[in-house]
Amino acid sequence: MDYFVNVTITGLTQGMIYSAFALALVLIWRSTRIVNFAQGSMAAATTFIALALIQAGASYWVALIVALVSGFVLGAVIERVIIRPVEGGPELNAVIVTLGLFVAIQALIAIIFGSSFQSFPTPFGVRGFELGDTTIPLTPTNLYVIAAVLVTMALLVALFRFTRIGLAMRASAFSQEVARLLGVKVGGMLTLGWGLAAVVGSLSGLLIAGGTFVYPAYMDSLIVFGFVAAIIGGLDSPVGAIVGGLILGLALSYVSGYAPRGSALVTISALVILIGVLLVRPGGLFSSSTARRA
């Protein structure tokens, strides 16, 4: 029983991170109809920036903020300079461009920061809380991860619901032409959208790195999990992405916790789940009824 609770909590925590990452993908998909395969590399880049600061003696929180800000700048610059020329073009071209970014950024990280494994600190303990004389498997780090993702999501909801900029962003995602006619600077909104998505992606990168080792390719599996989570949710729905992330986190945690030598099976189970979902509901579990023909 204890073990089950433990595995479930791990799954929920991991699932939260997948949710955040999937949310970043969904944000970009909704505004520009592009799946940003470079998201993982971009997050890895900001994580390494944070790590460099921490190793130079800065506190975790300063490093976190610097990493998120640099994530925003990175996302905005990439949208403006590299993505803009292929926006609205054939979808294959955009896919190839983001894949190119994926490789290039990852290699650049390895060139600058080296490709060895480095440990990334976590601001909170990884020992479970003690209730009387039993240790419950919930750790402060778990709580921190869950809280960080929840706060980020609440901020995003507030931004989109209650501010003028959020309204303008929704308008440009809804229909670029109409938004432009109404005086919304659509280009700026897309840049902002990419920047915000990169912040969320960076956050998930920092969270998953906490307490473990980082190396330039450490986000490779997270991009797969984030993508699978986003697909489960239908790629178009922020709520779907969050639910998809939690489902995937739990499922993978049970696989790795209960199957013999399950940790080697985690990525392949993600693939099986992905194929299964796509075969049953190609638009994702949360998609509305319209199927795109393209």
Partner: protein, 392 residues
């Protein structure tokens, strides 16, 4: 949230404007359709057979005048080119992207390694065919799922394949050797090969040379097969499926079945490439089939021009000859060994981005587009002149 799709610049664009510039490399005009003053035979098969013979002779010459080190580089080139050829047919001709070809190569490589591990290994041809068969089976499974997907969905699903499948090698480490992988016992060259080399070069054949020849033969046969395939009814149907889904469906084409077929053909090439890789590298290990492998194959075909076999060959040459060059350049900038090794993937990524933004048709596609435009202009001027003279 579905109303997002009303936006004019959203997905689906690829099939509205056909053919897409990026796949211009795939749309070769057939020789018989051009002016007809060509000295080449009319029949596509004969023309390709002629090319096969020419390239075979060329390959023997190149392999004989180069050093053993260059021989092994050329052997590397052959397996990249085989896989890239398969991928360019899939992506360029049929419009499906695959990041999973590294995993399919792994399937071929591990099959070869397992078969060669036996005490009395089967003949090499049988082993190569078995590797192709295994890749075909996996390719068909993936293809059935892939046929219902497009663009980013397909890219993501095959990405999961590329990241996930090598994990199986670690899970079943009793069979596949886990992280260390399997050593491959390279098969001995037959006597006839030794005497052939004696005849051509007058010196004894090395095993490196034998493997380079095996790779070259596989490469030539694969390209011969693929070149014929894309010029046939099958190739035309693939292009129809790529460019005009609705029109193709109305013409009685079963979109799904043809997409699966494209994936299977492409997977077969990847399986063969993996088998050759196992022979040349003499190791089948998960670290050999990373995501970067799949992405570098993509770089090769994008650079050469999507859908063009010539382009795939040129792009593969880049994959072989760029890394040593990039490493040296990195070292001259003061990077250490492991850092300098990352310069090549960095260049791949930059190449993907730059080519897609500035010359989406790639090398071969751009040249072909230029040539076709010039021909059309000349024909137009001719027609103009004719019209003027008949009026006057």
């Amino acid at each position: 949230m579905s109303d997002l799709q009303s936006s004019p610049s959203t997905a689906g664009k690829a099939s509205d404007e056909a053919p897409v510039v990026a796949t211009a490399g795939a749309n070769a005009t057939s020789a018989s359709a051009s002016t007809g003053r060509s000295l080449l035979p009319e029949s596509t098969l004969l023309r390709h057979l002629l090319a096969l013979v020419v390239f075979a002779v060329l390959a023997v010459v190149v392999l004989e005048v180069t050093t053993p080190y260059q021989n092994s580089q050329l052997a590397t080139l052959t397996y990249y080119a085989i896989a890239a050829g398969g991928l360019t047919v899939l992506t360029g001709m049929n419009g499906q992207i695959s990041l999973g070809h590294g995993a399919l190569m792994a399937a071929g490589a591990y099959t070869t390694a397992l078969f060669l591990d036996a005490d009395e290994p089967l003949p090499l041809v049988v082993i190569l065919l078995a590797s192709i068969l295994v890749a075909i089976i996996i390719g068909a499974l993936v293809g059935v799922a892939a046929a219902r997907l497009h663009g980013p969905y397909l890219a993501g699903a095959t990405l999961a394949l590329a990241v996930g499948l090598p994990g199986l090698a670690i899970y079943f480490h009793d069979i596949f050797g886990g992280e260390q992988g399997m050593r491959v016992r390279a098969p001995q060259a037959p006597e006839s090969f030794d005497s052939f080399i004696q005849l051509v070069s007058g010196s004894a054949a090395s095993s490196t040379k034998w493997l380079a020849y095996v790779g070259t033969i596989c490469l030539l046969l694969t390209y011969f097969f693929l070149a014929n395939l894309v010029r046939s009814r099958i190739g035309r149907t693939w292009r129809a499926v790529r460019d005009q889904e609705v029109a193709a469906e109305l013409a009685g084409i079963n979109l799904g079945a043809w997409r699966v077929l494209a994936f299977v053909v492409s997977a077969a090439a990847a399986g063969l490439a993996g088998a050759v890789l196992a022979l040349v590298v003499r190791l089948a290990a998960p670290s050999g089939f990373t995501l970067v492998l799949s992405l570098s194959l993509l770089t090769a075909i994008v650079l050469g021009g999507l859908g063009s076999l010539t382009g795939a060959l040129i792009g593969s040459a880049l994959l072989v000859f760029l890394p040593p060059f990039a490493r040296d350049m990195g070292a001259s900038f003061g990077l250490d060994q492991t850092e300098a090794a990352q310069v090549a993937p960095f260049v791949y990524g930059v190449v993907l981005v730059v080519v897609m933004i500035f010359v989406p048709a790639g090398l071969v596609g751009t040249i072909r587009l230029r040539w076709m435009t010039r021909k059309a202009k000349r024909a137009m001027a001719q027609a103009h002149a004719d019209g003027a003279s008949s009026r006057g």
